[in-house]
């Protein structure tokens, strides 16, 4: 293992495929934090994020032969994580909708336009002007997106993925993927409308990582 630490991703993949399981450790240690950040943004909670990370590396190991050095390993495992995260999100949404109404509520029904939810909550802009509340509103709005929308917006705007790459994860074509990204952006915009009107409101949200 000690001699494997400095090796390149491609070499680590080759050695893993040759039967040296510990060479895979290099890849896991190198890319885990990045995959975690992606997974956290997609799932919105640390518990699911950790599960996505583990599953992504397990799947990547199983599919390693398909990788065969034709792309960047980080990008590749990222895509596997995104694929799994969207499944996990769908599963979560299904579980939630079943809990809410065991009979017939479906995903599309539970994910109503966030705007209508906000109207019901009678917003008070002064109360929400603080940074924490704005971040909290954004979190709620993200949670209210459909799995496909959330995945699309995270991939596009946090990770700068191309539309083609997003389409592949969403299993759709590029014009549909582009539409999904727009729909997600529009929902976030509407959800934040009552709170983010003040100029540069975002500056006060602050970053942690």
């Amino acid at each position: 293992m000690a001699d494997a630490i400095g090796i390149s991703d491609v070499a680590a993949v080759e050695r893993t495929l040759a039967g040296e399981r510990d060479a895979y450790r290099v890849l896991v240690e190198r890319h885990s934090a990045y995959v975690y950040r992606v997974a956290y943004r997609m799932t919105g909670n640390p518990h699911d994020a950790e599960e996505v990370v583990q599953e992504a590396f397990l799947r990547a190991y199983q599919k390693l032969r398909q990788f065969a050095g034709n792309a960047n390993f980080g990008t590749w495992v990222y895509r596997i994580a995104a694929n799994y995260a969207i499944d996990r999100l769908r599963q979560r949404k299904n579980e939630e909708s079943r809990r809410e109404s065991p009979s017939r509520k479906t995903e599309s029904e539970t994910e109503v336009d966030p705007l209508s939810q906000i109207k019901d909550q009678a917003p008070n802009p002064e109360r929400l002007a603080g940074s924490a509340q704005l971040a909290e509103k954004m979190k709620e709005a993200l949670d209210a997106l459909t799995p496909a929308e959330r995945t699309a917006i995270v991939m596009r705007h946090w990770d700068g993925c191309g539309i083609e790459e997003i389409a592949e994860v969403l299993k759709s074509n590029s014009s549909a993927a582009k539409n999904t990204v727009f729909r997600a952006a529009q929902k976030l915009r509407l959800a934040l409308k009552p709170f983010a009107e003040g100029r540069n409101a975002a500056k006060v949200v602050g970053t942690e990582s």
Partner: protein, 263 residues
């Protein structure tokens, strides 16, 4: 003056070239649209500023410890990935049971000692045949249910296909795996049927949970147009014959049955 739509503003922000000049010209004139563009920008600023917890420096090592026991040693055979524990689970309890039944049948039948070494591979092969058969059976069921539903009889405005959609979604990943395995094994006939099946399954999986009668009819039409149900049935039939033959004739080593290639 006609304002720029949210979609156009968004596309403009994304740097799209269509209509760029006229949008830019409009933005110069129109304070309202400029303000809207600024609001869109603010949403992304808030989005970018959302905190992500730091998993810590030792996180990679932690992940490795969590998964290492679940990583099977790599083997050279094309089917090796198939028999990882996760894969077996994905194949479903039914397939596993059938495999057990086969295995029990093999080991309890009278035999000479030397054959048993060869048998592990044959059992695997049979599991594969059974698993793919099982998978095709499940797919056939969904396609049949969708084909046989009469959209108009209930007079409903929307038809709920959430159940079929969920099941199709589950089958997509499985299907991809079997297709890849068939390709790796040189079984192009099966691979091509699975390929067609993949497209139909994706169609269903990517539909909304509730569709209008017109959308529903178009799904039905796509299923019919591809003739996929018939193809699935043919392959399933052949796989069934194949697994019967293997049961009857355990000593032959023909992992790629030629009979299937006409499918």
């Amino acid at each position: 003056m006609k304002h720029t739509s949210a979609e156009e503003l968004y596309a403009y922000r994304e740097g799209e070239m269509t209509g760029r000049e006229s949008i830019a010209a409009h933005l110069k004139e129109c304070g309202e649209c400029r303000a809207e563009l600024e609001r869109i920008e603010e949403v992304f600023q808030v989005l970018n500023a959302m905190p992500v917890p730091d998993p810590g420096e030792e996180y990679g090592t932690k992940v490795w410890r969590q998964i290492v026991d679940r990583l099977p040693e790599k083997r050279a055979k094309w089917w090796s990935g198939f028999f990882a524990p996760q894969r077996l689970m994905a194949m479903g309890a039914a397939a596993a049971l059938l495999a057990l039944a086969f295995y029990a049948g093999r080991t309890t039948s009278p035999r000479t000692g030397g054959d048993e070494i060869v048998d592990a591979g044959k059992v695997r092969e049979r599991v594969l045949v059974v698993a793919v058969g099982e998978h095709l059976g499940k797919s056939e069921m969904i396609l049949m249910e969708l084909s046989n539903t009469q959209p108009v009889e209930s007079g409903k405005k929307l038809i709920n296909i959430a159940t079929e959609q969920k099941r199709a979604e589950d089958l997509v990943e499985e299907n991809r795996l079997y297709r890849q395995t068939a390709l790796n094994g040189g079984d192009h006939a099966i691979a091509s049927t699975l390929d067609e099946l993949q497209r139909v399954l994706l169609d269903v999986a990517n539909s909304p949970a509730e569709v209008t009668p017109a959308q529903f009819a178009s799904i039905q039409k796509r299923i019919a147009a591809q003739g996929i149900l018939l193809k699935v049935r043919v392959v399933r039939q052949e796989l069934r014959a194949e697994s019967e033959r293997k049961k009857a004739e355990p000593a032959r080593n023909d992992s790629i049955p030629k009979a299937r290639n006409k499918a």
